[in-house]
């Protein structure tokens, strides 16, 4: 009895000391929390340093997406380059896992440190290409996919120009 009484008095004293301890609350809309540069938030489509869209509509992001929230339609330009005719992300399904960013061969799709995407209407959570596309290279400032991979031009296929090596045939095991 006396032991438990002492224990309870100690508790009361400890709680009373908390009158002078610092408050842990972060008052959110006024006080923003720190988000790391690689925080996985709202998804954007970036452009390469020349200002052209990076996305080549390869559908790898849509395949990688575990919740199937990405939908896109591939189109072909006059020079044969692929581009997305529409690109749609349903953010009410998206779990911000970042798999699409890892799958993307051209670094087009990227996640940004922004999570404030509340809407009153659920349909507004579906972002179309014009909502996703930004005018900038995102995290990779100098990366241009076709500069790295090479490009076939009239009369010369990939790897046939000067100072170029033949591309590796990824479908063969031969050296």
């Amino acid at each position: 009895m006396l032991k438990s009484l002492r224990s309870q008095l100690t508790t009361i004293w400890t709680i009373l000391q908390h009158s002078f301890s610092r408050c842990e609350t972060v008052q959110y809309p006024e006080q923003k929390p720190y988000l790391a540069p690689r925080y996985r938030g709202r998804i954007v489509l970036t452009t390469d340093p020349d200002g052209d869209e990076r996305c080549v509509a390869c559908n790898l992001c849509a395949v990688a997406c575990p919740v199937d929230c990405i939908a896109l339609q591939q189109g072909t330009r006059e020079d044969g380059r692929w581009y997305p005719e529409f690109f749609r992300i349903n953010f009410s399904r998206c779990i911000m896992c970042g798999m699409c960013e890892e799958a993307c061969p051209t670094n087009a799709i990227q996640l940004t440190p922004d999570f404030e995407m509340c809407e009153y209407d659920r349909q507004n959570m579906v972002y179309e290409k014009e909502h996703l596309q930004i005018d900038g290279p995102g995290k990779y400032h100098d990366y241009n996919f076709y500069r790295v991979s090479g490009l076939a031009i009239k009369g010369k296929d990939k790897g046939e120009a000067q100072n170029e090596a033949q591309p590796i045939d990824v479908k063969s095991l031969l050296p």
């Binding site: 400890t14 709680i15 009373l16 908390h18 408050c23």
Partner: protein, 317 residues
């Protein structure tokens, strides 16, 4: 005071007590916030005090619903009983030498009677709801009542012996030399525990116990009827604090400041202490509360009675 003054003071007191109980909900949440290293409601108005208004509007605009399976008359009567009983209890509280509604020579017994009547509200509310959780809450309330009512009354008899009167004004005036919390320390301790149990507040909110019984006896209540239960609880808290101040901490007595200010200052401190207890102490099981009541508190109250009686007798003789 003249009759008219008494009526006016009574109305002011009812308004003040109900308003005070409303503000107390906000105050308690802020204070709990401070002690739990967070802020509490701070958005609406200065320091968030308009939260009271928002809560009140919300409760007033809710559907006044009586469940079809409930005992309707008792269901509606129960929340009213606790508020009426607690407000009646305020009638005998002496706020200052001449600021009280009525000074009856059995004021202390009147107070004990009124707070005991408030238990009916919890019991009937639990019974009339016709709901398992509510019934369990009512059951616990009954178990709690038989364990604390006995030593609650006995713990105050030491005060009565020392002052030689049941009138609360006489009790306060008898403390002009020494406040009773020094000679009646055991009495204060026992009455404090009984008082928390009486007002059904943590750590003795067994009938409510939102962690186990959803909301205990008022599970089926909503809107204003629920608000009445909460009002009753906070009125009970204020009444018990007023009584602790009156009986053990010299009521309005104190130097320099006017008596009413002293009274409310002391009540405020006691209320803060009650909230601190809520913040710090976990809730016992109701069999633990019963064994505490019967095995420790009752003997302590009797011992206090015996020793006080012996000392009072030897002082006289």
């Amino acid at each position: 005071m003249s009759d008219l003054n008494t009526i006016i003071f009574g109305l002011v007191l009812i308004g003040g007590a109900v308003g005070g109980a409303a503000v107390l909900t906000w105050f308690e949440r802020r204070l709990l916030g401070i002690w739990q290293d967070r802020l509490g409601p701070n958005r609406l108005g200065p320091f968030g005090i308009l939260q009271v208004l928002a809560d009140m509007l919300k409760l007033l605009s809710k559907d006044d619903w009586v469940p079809p399976f409930a005992d309707k008359v008792v269901f509606v009567f129960a929340p009213t009983a606790i508020v009426v009983a607690m407000l009646l209890g305020f009638a005998v509280v002496p706020f200052s030498p001449d600021l009280m509604i009525i000074d009856i020579n059995i004021g202390l017994l009147f107070f004990l009677g009124m707070t005991s009547l408030a238990v009916y509200s919890v019991l009937l509310g639990g019974l009339a709801s016709n709901n398992k959780y509510a019934l369990l809450g009512g059951l616990r309330s009954a178990a709690q009542m038989v364990s604390y009512e006995v030593f609650m009354g006995l713990s105050l008899m030491g005060v009565v012996m020392l002052s030689g009167s049941f009138s609360l004004r006489d009790i306060v005036e008898a403390q002009s030399d020494m406040w009773f919390f020094i000679p009646q320390f055991l009495g204060l301790y026992v009455f404090l525990i009984a008082g928390i149990a009486e007002s059904h507040r943590l750590p003795f909110d067994l009938p409510e116990a939102e962690h186990e019984l959803t909301a205990g006896f008022h599970t089926e209540y909503g809107g204003m009827k629920f608000a009445m239960f909460m009002l009753g609880e906070y009125l009970g808290l204020m009444l018990i604090s007023c009584m602790i101040v009156t009986l053990f901490f010299g009521g309005w007595l104190g130097p320099w400041l006017p008596p009413v200010v002293w009274f409310f200052l002391k009540v405020f401190i006691v209320i803060c202490f009650f909230i601190l207890l809520r913040c710090a102490i976990p809730r016992p099981r109701y069999d633990q509360l019963m064994s505490l009541g019967w095995k420790y508190m009752l003997p302590l109250a009797l011992l206090n009675l015996l020793v006080t009686g012996a000392i009072a007798l030897s002082m006289e003789g």
